[in-house]
Structures are given as C-alpha cells and as structure tokens.
C-alpha cells in the first residue's frame, strides 16, 4: 500500500485533520490512528521525524514531566505538605521532607512557606490522574522573593530559553535581571529596578507573541539595545 504524508512539516493543523495515510507512518503525541490514516487530535504544528509523525501543541495546559523546573504558588498548607498551584490540570504537593530547611516537628509551616508565596521547585514524581510531587532540594530551588511573575503558554517555553539558553542569557545580560523560566510557563523576573524588569518582561512577551518568526534573537537584541526607549508609561 502506498504511504504518504498529506501535510508538510511545520504546517498548522486542527483536530480531525488527516496528516498521513498508510501504515508506514507512526502516530506520536497529539495524533491518533484511524484505520490506515493518522489524524491530528490537537491544534498545533506538525513535526515529522522519519516515520514518526507528531503534533506540537500550540496551546493547552501544562502537563508535568519528571525533572521539570516549575514555578508555583502556595495555595494551601496542610499538616504534612504545602499544596502548590503550578497551572496544570492537577495540583502539586511539596512534602515536608522535600524542603531544604530542617523543620521541627509541630512547628507552624506557614513560617517557611506561606499562602501566596511563589516557589521555584522541581517535579520528582507524576501520578497520573492525581497530581504531582515537588521537591525544593537542589541547586537554584528556593522561594522567589519580590520581582514579578509572567505567564506564557507552556509550549513557548523552549523558545524563550533558546538554544542552550541563548535567548534567556541574552535578556539576562542586557537587562541585568534575574530570570527563572519554569517549564509550566511561569517566568519569574527580578531586577534591581522596575525599568529593568519591565524591559525584560517586554522581551519575554515579545518572544511569546512572535515565537514562530525567524531571526527572533536579533529582534530581541535590537529591542533591548535600544535601552529605555520603549518605556512609555511604566
């Protein structure tokens, strides 16, 4: 039987669109097989790797993967854990033993992390259909004090970081801000003054909006090199 692709690599497809026909192709993420055809099940970009066809979703909730660095907000404090909102379909929990500090038995947990605190944590375990376990033990994992939080679509995170962190280090260098990008699409920016933070935030949002444009690094470089020109009211 003849097998062929019906769409091209990097085409935008919608659910129910036929991507390929024939059994020579294999369905990956965001696709499914119906008889001899492969169909898209999500709105996104087609990615073909040899025989492997998948759809990279352009929108959607964050789905946690073990080892991800995430930024979340403490939304509840229970007896043995903090419950953290990381923006996914399910909640996340930070257990007592996963904190870097020594916590005495019976102490008030809100002294360490209180309601509304922003924490930078790592996913250690994903329980399907239930939730996520977090840890704060590790380099760079801590509470985020001050600064600001931006929210971007989780699928755009790789673009914000860039190849080997090229994009993010460019912004860091030009604005001298501290930036942490969580895989869940939350970006924490802290600079020495508000202007720096606003410039960094603008750059991040620009990357999110124009993530599909070629030569984005140059564009961002240009935007940030202009300096304080773009602060209309801030």
């Amino acid at each position: 039987m003849d097998s062929k692709m019906l769409v091209e690599d990097r085409d935008i497809v919608i659910p129910g669109e036929v991507l390929a026909c024939g059994m020579d192709f294999l369905p990956g993420n965001g696709t499914y097989r119906e008889q001899d055809k492969i169909l898209a099940s999500q709105l996104g970009l087609v990615s073909v790797n040899n025989r492997f066809v998948k759809v990279i979703a352009l929108t959607g909730k964050y789905s946690a993967v073990e080892g991800d660095l995430v930024i979340g907000k403490v939304c509840d404090v229970t007896i043995g854990a903090w419950l953290v909102d990381i923006g996914g379909a399910y909640g996340a929990a930070l257990a007592l033993r996963e904190t870097p500090e020594f916590i005495e038995r019976g102490s008030d947990l809100t002294r360490y992390y209180d309601f509304g605190d922003i924490i930078i944590a790592k996913v250690v375990n994903v329980i399907k259909g239930k939730g996520v376990d977090l840890t704060m033990k590790g380099p760079g994992l801590r509470k985020a004090n001050g600064g600001r939080i931006l929210e971007v679509t989780p699928s755009k995170v790789p673009r914000i970081i860039g190849k080997q962190g090229s994009m993010i280090s460019l912004i860091k260098e030009k604005t001298s801000c501290m930036i942490v990008v969580g895989q869940n699409g939350k970006v924490w920016i802290k600079g020495e003054n508000t202007e720096d933070e606003v410039r960094a935030a603008e750059a991040v949002l620009k990357i999110e909006q124009e993530s599909h444009v070629d030569g984005l690094t140059e564009k961002i470089n240009e935007l940030l090199s202009k300096g304080g020109k773009n602060d209309k009211q801030s």
Partner: protein
Amino acid sequence: MTSRVDGRKIDELRKMSARIGVVKRADGSAMFQIGDTIAFAAVYGPRELHPRFLQNPEKAMLRCHYDMASFSVSERKKPGPSRRSVEISLVTEKALSSVVDLKLYPNAVIDVFIQIIQANAGTRCAGITAAAMALAHAGVPMREMVAAVSVGKVGKEIVLDLTKEEEDEETGATDIPVAMTSYNKGITLLQLDGEVNKKELIEALKLAGKGCEEIFKLQERVLKEVYSGGKNE
C-alpha cells in the same frame, strides 16, 4: 428555486463570522456568528473537579453551561438557568463529549461556558460550533471538530439554517438542529420539533451535512489564522 423571506436560496447559510481568543482569561475561547445569532464560548480546564464525589477515576467530566444573555432577545429574558437552558446544556455536552478525549484526564473536569449574546434562531447550533472551536483553542485533545446547523421544513420546502421569522411561520415550521463531526461525518446531535416524513428527514440531513461542511471550512480557517498570521490572541 424559490427564494426565502430574506432572499436566500434553500441551501444557503446566513452570513458567518468567527473569532478565536475572545475571552482573555479563559484557557480557550471562541465567538461564532451566523446571521443575527452570536454565540461566545469559553473553555476552562482540564482542572481539578470539586466536590470530590463527582470525580470519575476513569475519565474527565465535560461540563457544559449554556445560557442566553437577558438582552439577547427582544423580550427581556429572565437571567439564570431555565428548563430550556438546562436541556440545551445537556445536549451540547452529549454533542461534544464523543469527540473530546476525556480518558486522558481522569478525575478532572473541562468546563465549557456558552453565552448567547444575540439570538435569532439556531442558538444551540451556534453554541456547539463555538464550543468546538474554543475546545480546540484550549488545546484539549479531540478526535475531530464538531459543527452544528439547523435545518427544517418551512411550508413544503426543506431549508437550511432557519431564521426566527421562518421558525414562527403560521403553518408551523419544523426545526431540526443537527451537529456533525468533521472526519467521520457522524451525527452527535439530532433533535426534531414538528412533523416530517422519512423522505424529508433524509433530505434535511443531507442539507445539514452540506451546511456543516461550510462551517468546518470556516472553523479551520479561523483556527489556523491565529497562529500563522502572527496575530495577537
């Protein structure tokens, strides 16, 4: 072909337009307009379902909420759920749940809110069409798209996409809302209010299929436009 009250052909849809990302705080949203009927749909989720006893460990719950704005009709509609809106919420849920991949999110809920801003017949169809686009925009995995259109019998003629004027015709028009899926062409909603015979119903379904085809094209165009044109969400 005889022309209708508003000068359309019997197999002609009213003028349509659609937009994506109309509700900024929602995970996905869409607007769909057909003639004077305007529907807004917003999707939230998948997210945790509370109270816990409603959770289903096998699959997610799809929760639809259909309502008409009080100013959407000429006679003020009392706000809040009514017998009619509860029924429409339910059929909308059934029309969409067969395409949404609910097994991927056990214990969760996907909320779909449909608000009719302006009504001129075919509101449940417009609502389903908008909701399908909003679900796709929210990145919810779904097997295919859904579109809906109403067909009916006005006088002796089987026509596509009735207006309020046609529905209220003296001899009593028959209204048949139909929802179809884009790939399998399966029917996920079929209601009938009035009288038709078998032959007429088959003809009506054919006409509905044709109408849905046009709506699928619009849905596809609008959904792709957002990401290819570099437009803002």
